[in-house]
Subunit: 222 residues, 2 copies
DNA sequence: CGCAGATCGAGAAAATCATCTCGATAAAAA
DNA sequence: TTTTTATCGAGATGATTTTCTCGATCTGCG
């Protein structure tokens, strides 16, 4: 029995709709059709309807959806209207970048503390967030009931830190390290696979070059 | 006629295999079976075989694959053995983080210069890479034959900068901004959708909480 | 030298996801 | 008021991806 039968692909598209809708609202637009969203974001309009349907939002024929309603529906569906505290471990380049981001609060996550193993980093403040020695993580996580962990440590440390997180009560990990964490199934892990992204990019580029070269040389039939 | 019939999902898994294989090699392991890879990375073993098959690598029954061969095959398939120069625009938090990353070279990309619209940032060096005024991008990109652009500017500037990149000869864009770029189809765009990732995480967590709550309260039948 | 066990790879079946089709509905136009 | 048109939403169809099944192959052991 599946608890969440919503396709993952839908889940991944919703934030993109959401940001598009925010921009529409800023521009003062009140109504929007699935077809328009589809054109703007490169998604088939029936797909957009199916995606929006899972949030419970309804549109009216000939009118479309109210932008406000859609935004609210998506927020509620993704639980982005309830902000959860998160701890970040690894105050290196990526960790620092994330600490500097505004906008995660809008996505349901507030980074309330950062941790690092290096004494050089611990004790400082980055973007207004304190960096603490990683030894303090377990106790603080439990006391503050933090359930989201953000993992921005080097690959070789990631598994160990992740296990420490889970042992400290963390239920969901946003993982930036390029490894697959081996954790109990009950833990939610969401990988930000930067290298996967680069792999796709690089391959596409290579294929394009190859097919361009082929087009240039093969002019006669086989 | 599709030039590249390799499933995108396969493309996304290959880098993950790749990093796992690198770790195996470091540990001195010479042979590996598809089944073992599957267990380590949470992928079905037949899926692993199909994925590895696209790279052209062959395994031997009862033995498995040579780790070295697999690494080489994946590198070649993703074109990660040829490093291309890339320009980064937007030397903010994320841009700075990417400039500090070692390891992209292994993934076929070398960031050779960064650009920023802010005079406050231009002129400096970050992680050994010069930050130049964004106005210099077009000329330099053409002269250096740079075809990869990395986009780490705020969402509201992304579309404009992307168009500038394309006009300067950029063929592939690694986009970190949370918007869908509208560009000619010939341009390869790879989005790093941080918010999609957060959407999935947040939804999963919410569903888990809900189903846990349901389990706690609904003990009698309907 | 022949058998047992592990692994591969190809093709069939199943599951998932995206697109197409069509009737219904609401607003605007005639 | 009736017709037209834009849009929705549900269900059927189609495409893609994943998993299952099975025969073939190679190694190591008796």
């Amino acid at each position: 029995m599946r608890v969440d039968s919503v396709p993952e692909a839908t889940l991944r598209r919703l934030p993109s709709y959401y940001h598009y809708l925010l921009r529409l609202r800023e521009k003062g637009q009140e109504l929007i059709s699935a077809a328009q969203i589809g054109v703007a974001l490169g998604v088939h309009h029936t797909q957009v309807r199916k995606d929006l349907a899972v949030t419970g939002s309804q549109g009216r024929p000939k009118v479309g959806h109210r932008v406000d309603d859609l935004i609210a529906s998506i927020e509620e569906f993704l639980n982005w209207n309830n902000v959860s505290d998160a701890f970040l471990v690894g105050a290196g380049h990526m960790g620092t970048a994330l600490l500097g981001y505004e906008g995660f609060e809008r996505a349901g996550v507030r980074i309330v503390a950062a941790f690092d193993a290096s004494p050089r980093r611990a004790g400082k403040k980055i973007q207004g967030v304190s960096v603490l020695p990683v030894e303090k993580f377990p106790d603080l996580a439990r006391r503050m009931h933090v359930v989201i962990g953000i993992l921005t440590v080097p690959a070789e440390d990631a598994q160990g830190v992740a296990e420490m997180m889970v042992a400290s009560g963390i239920q969901a990990i946003w993982n930036f390290a390029p490894i697959v964490l081996e954790l109990p199934e009950t833990v939610i892990v969401e990988d930000v696979a930067l290298y996967s992204s680069l792999g796709v990019l690089s391959r596409r580029l290579a294929v394009r070059r190859k097919s361009a070269a082929a087009r240039d040389s093969v002019r006669a039939g086989p």
